[in-house]
Amino acid sequence: MTNILQQPLVIELLHTPLFWATLTIGAFIIGQRLYHLLGNSAFLPPILTGIILVAVVLEVTGISFDTYMEGGQFLHLMLGPVVVMLAVPLYQFIHVMRKEWLRISLAISLGSIATVGTAVAMTHYLIGIPEITVTMATKSVTTPVAVTLSEQLGGIGALASAFVIVTGVFGALIVPPLLKLTRLDAPKAVGLSLGVCAHAIGTGRALELGNEQAAYAAMAMSLTATLHAVALPWLM
C-alpha cells in the first residue's frame, strides 16, 4: 500500500483538488446505493456513509483535511444557496399549519427549549469547553443550517454536523418507542416530535410510519431550523 502511495503519479493525483471533489460525489453515490439496498433505513443515511468513506480514504492516504478541502470547497460552496432554498418548503408548510398555528408553534418552541436546554446544560457541566457547548446548541437543526449557524456563533462546523447526524439517528431510534410507551403517540405528535428532535433523519423515519407523520415532521424540521437560526444568536 505504501508503495503505491509513493508513486509520483499517485502523489500528484492525491494533491489534485478535482480528485477530492470527484471522490466525495462517488462516496455519496455509494451511500445512496447502500441506503436503497437496506430499504431506505433511517439508521444509515447516505451522508453518514459518504463521510465515513471519505474520512477513511484521508486516513489511509495521509492527506490533510486542508488539502482535501481545496477540492471539497467546490461542493461546500453550494451550502449558502441551499439554505436560502429552504424558504420554498417553508412557504408550503405555512399554508398547511394555518389552522393549528398556535399549538404547532408552542410545541416546536417548548420542545426545542427542552431538548436544547438539557443538552447545553449537560455539556456545560460535564465537559465545560465553550466551543463545544455552543456547537451542541445547534444539534437539533437540519445540517446545512447547523453548520452555518455554529460557525457564525464561534462553534466548530465539523462537530456541528456530527452532533446533528448522531442526534438524528438517536432520535429516529428513541422517539417513536418513547412516545408509544407514554401514550403520546397520535400521528401528528409523533411526526412533530421527530421533526423537532431528529430533523431530516427523523423525517425519514416518519416517512416509514405514515404520511401524516411525515408531513408534520417535515414541517417541524423547517420551522425548527428557522426558529433556532433566528433565536440562538441572541441567546448564546
Binding site: 451522508i47 416546536i108 427542552a114 443538552a119 451542541m136 412533530l192 433566528v230
Partner: protein
Amino acid sequence: MSGLLILLSFLLLGNLIQSGLALPIPGSIIGMLLLLAMLITRGKTPQSLQSISKVLSPLLPLFIIPVSVGIVTQKELLAENGISLLVIMAISLIPGALVCAAVMMVGKKS
C-alpha cells in the same frame, strides 16, 4: 436557471444585510427569510424556484459532506469526550420529544 439566480441574489442580499447591520444571524438565513417574505407577498412559488428546488434538494447531503469530513481534525476531542457527548445527545432527546408531543395532544380527544 433563473431559479438559481434568485437563490444567489437573495444569498448576496442576506450577506450584505448581515455585514451591513452587523447582525449575528447568518446571511443565508436572512436571505431565506427575505425569500420567504417574497413568496408570501406574491402568493405562489415561481416555476423556476420549484424546478431548482427539485434539482438541488436530493443533492443537499452531498454539499454537507466536505465540512463534515472535518471531523477527522477533532480526534483528540472525541477520544476524550466522545462517550459523554453521546450520552448527552441521547438523554437530551427525551424531554424534547415528551414536551413536544404533550403540547400536540393536551386538551385533545384521541
